[in-house]
């Protein structure tokens, strides 16, 4: 996150979920507590809920998928297709099993062929690492609908249907490895156990089950309800049987296939095997020869809602090719920006924007000597706001210091036209202050929509060298919303961590 000094983190109210019922004095925020790290964010990471009048961090927003799309072809995929086909592009987008680069479809026409149209066959080639589907003997008749052609030729060897006896199994005594893929094994197992469960439900283990009642399950349950006495006593459901045959999805250990693997490893050597990272995207493959192209995984566009009131905070345009947002309520345009700089540093512009750092001139604190800093608050709203600041008298971090805000209550002007300020300055108005000695109860400097107040920091005598001093500042903002007084409509904790002690 932000590494520049001074940095300002904003605490999200979700750190204290019960704070709405408690008096405000109770939820004092301790920036040095381990929990605080989970609710402190730079302003840029926060959204704002206009209904709850609170900032919303990634933890207190709920995400929902607006659309699924393929990053390669930028086509939207309906969510029903995602559910049925899985999280992958069903068109012709594939990634290289060796280097994950998107694969290109290239014709294998002999160069001397003069025909205008490409006749094929076609192959998938990686423009980066030169892998091609010829490495695994895959060719395609058409340049489009690769997925359809690939599923047709899923396996080079004829795959055995689940319900017919495995020809390899029936052959002699030594069972060869089942040629079924992991997916097929999973489907078989899934079907087998689903079947088991429905059988169990259809024939519940009560007394009537023993009699050959062919009545549906519901009727037998009804009978069960009206029967009396000891017959009501339910037996335990009969145990389910496990998958016993390869047709059920059972995979037997096969020493021959292990030997085969060892032989292939010895023959192919280091280069013949897939690395762990590549095997992870190609779960079935162990050798380079088995690595198949991986269908491009889909991406999503997501909307964000407030967890408390379900208001939409951010919603991207559903069109895939744009990166714009339909709705996006950022915290930066709703809560005042807090900045801090040493008194006398000529960096008002950067301090106000809160983005610039102090660069080389990082102030160091001397124990027991008061240092002065200017805390600036910039109001992004189009109405003037009343601000009240509060801070703990002593900081709780590794650097102990006494912090005093010389002017804790003031008003910040509205975020009006920038020209107002420029014109006012010509007339002698505009930003005032910034001279003399810091005085208690007085605003240090003031501009169109910002105010700077002086903060006095006195480090304790035993301050640690080289540690950062973090000052928690509680900012309470009062404003009038649409005529009727919304009172203390908003409040948030601005949290500035700007200074360190080098003794």
């Amino acid at each position: 996150m932000a590494t520049q000094f001074p940095y300002t983190y904003y605490s999200c109210p979700c750190i204290n979920p019960t704070d709405s019922t408690l008096p405000e004095q109770d939820d004092t925020f301790d920036p040095s507590s381990p929990r605080a790290a989970f609710s402190l964010y730079p302003l840029e990471h926060l959204l704002y809920c206009t209904e709850c009048h609170q900032v919303r961090c990634p933890r207190c927003t709920a995400e929902e998928v607006v659309c699924w799309y393929c990053p390669s072809c930028l086509f939207e995929v309906p969510s029903s297709t995602v559910r049925s086909e899985g999280n992958q592009c069903t068109r012709s987008c594939y990634n290289c099993p060796q280097c994950t680069a998107p694969l290109a479809v290239n014709p294998l026409d002999p160069p001397e062929s003069t025909s205008e149209t490409l006749t094929g066959p076609f192959i998938l080639t990686c423009p980066y690492c030169t892998w091609s589907s010829l490495d695994i003997d895959l060719k395609f008749d058409k340049p489009n609908n690769i997925t359809g052609q690939l599923s047709g030729s899923k396996r080079p060897e004829p795959s055995t249907p689940v319900d017919t006896p495995d020809p390899d199994l029936s052959r002699a005594s030594s069972p060869k490895p089942d040629p079924k893929t992991r997916d097929e094994v999973f489907t078989a197992l899934n079907a087998f156990y689903k079947n088991q469960i429905t059988h169990d439900v259809d024939a519940p283990g009560h007394a009537f089950a023993e009699q050959a009642f062919s009545s549906p399950h519901s009727i037998s349950r009804l009978l069960n309800l009206y029967s009396t006495g000891k017959k009501l006593k339910r037996q335990r459901p009969k145990p389910m049987s496990e998958a016993l045959t390869p047709a059920d999805g059972l995979v037997l250990f096969d020493p021959e296939s292990e030997l085969d693997t060892i032989k292939r490893t010895a023959a192919g050597g280091w280069e013949g095997t897939l690395g762990g990272d590549k095997a992870a995207i190609n779960t079935e493959a162990r050798f380079v020869d088995d690595a198949r192209p991986v269908a491009s995984l889909l991406r999503t566009k997501r909307a964000k809602r407030c967890r408390a009131c379900r208001t939409l905070l951010s919603r991207p345009e559903p069109k895939i090719s744009t990166t714009r947002y339909k709705i996006r309520v950022v915290a930066g345009s709703n809560v005042p920006r807090v900045g801090l700089r040493p008194l006398g540093a000529k960096a008002r512009a950067t301090a106000v924007s809160g983005l610039g750092g102090l660069g080389a001139e990082v102030p160091s604190l001397k124990p027991l000597l008061p240092s002065h800093f200017v805390l600036t608050l910039t109001n992004p709203l189009f109405d003037a706001v009343k601000v009240t600041l509060a801070t703990a008298r002593d900081t709780t971090g590794p650097v102990k210091a006494r912090v005093t805000i010389l002017c804790p209550a003031f008003e910040v002007g509205a975020n009006t036209d920038v020209w107002d300020e420029a014109l006012a300055r010509d007339g002698g108005g505009g930003s005032q202050g910034g001279g003399g000695v810091p005085e208690a109860g007085k605003v240090w400097e003031r501009g169109r929509n910002w105010v700077g107040v002086v903060v006095e920091v006195v480090p304790a005598g035993d301050a640690v060298r080289g540690e950062v001093l973090e000052i928690a500042v509680f900012v309470r903002v009062e404003y009038e919303a649409g005529g009727d007084l919304d009172g203390a409509g908003k409040r948030e904790v601005g949290f500035c961590n700007p200074i360190w002690s080098s003794g």
């Binding site: 060796q98 294998l108 026409d109 002999p110 160069p111 080639t125 980066y128 690492c129 010829l134 490495d135």
Partner: protein
């Protein structure tokens, strides 16, 4: 370019240029040793050939892109090295992309050195190799034919190229097409470098 102006102008190298080759007038051919450019080779503007440590031989149909450097700048020869050990020989149809530095002893036919890759002194690159962008081949490395090396030094054998003569044919045809296109685009100035 201020730095270029301050430097002494490097000496023009003795050359043997095939009349069917394309050498842009902004290419740079320098050094005390002989530079041979064979037929249909294309030297882009600002391509640099430095025959500082030995003769440089650019094979037929090679393409050397701008700011690529082929050859060694210095003529210093370490003990036990042959007289022209720092020469460079590019086989036919080698492509050296932008910013690549090739000091190798030999680059085999149809190999491709991608942009900003470096091939150290004395290395021998086999046929149809592909050195991907920003890869670094240390000095005196020997790469077998059909090796692909990427920037993280991940190596694999290009089986498609090795086992499929048809793919090699297609590749050669595409390369010839590219050379033809470049010949039409780049004005050749052989006289300047003869």
């Amino acid at each position: 370019m201020a730095t270029a102006a301050r430097r002494p102008v490097p000496p023009k190298a003795p050359t043997t240029l095939d009349p069917a080759s394309t050498v842009a007038s902004h290419a740079l051919l320098t050094g005390p040793h002989r530079i041979t450019v064979r037929a249909r080779a294309v030297l882009h503007p600002y391509a640099r050939i430095m025959a500082g440590g030995g003769p440089v031989d650019i094979g037929e149909g090679c393409i050397i892109w701008e700011k690529a450097l082929v050859g060694c700048g210095d003529s210093k020869i370490t003990e036990g090295e042959e007289e022209d050990a720092r020469g460079v020989r590019l086989g036919p149809n080698v492509v050296i992309e932008t910013g690549a530095v090739v000091e190798a002893r030999e680059v085999g036919e149809g190999s491709m050195i991608e942009s900003f890759a470096r091939v150290g002194v004395g290395a021998r690159i086999g046929k149809y190799c592909k050195i991907l962008s920003y890869a670094n081949i240390p000095a005196h490395t020997e790469l077998p034919d059909y090796t692909v090396v990427d920037g993280r030094n991940f190596r694999r054998k290009d089986k498609t190229m090795a086992n499929q003569p048809l793919v090699r044919e297609i590749r050669a045809a595409n390369h010839a097409k590219q050379v033809k296109g470049l010949q039409a685009l780049i004005p050749s100035n052989l006289v300047k470098w003869q």
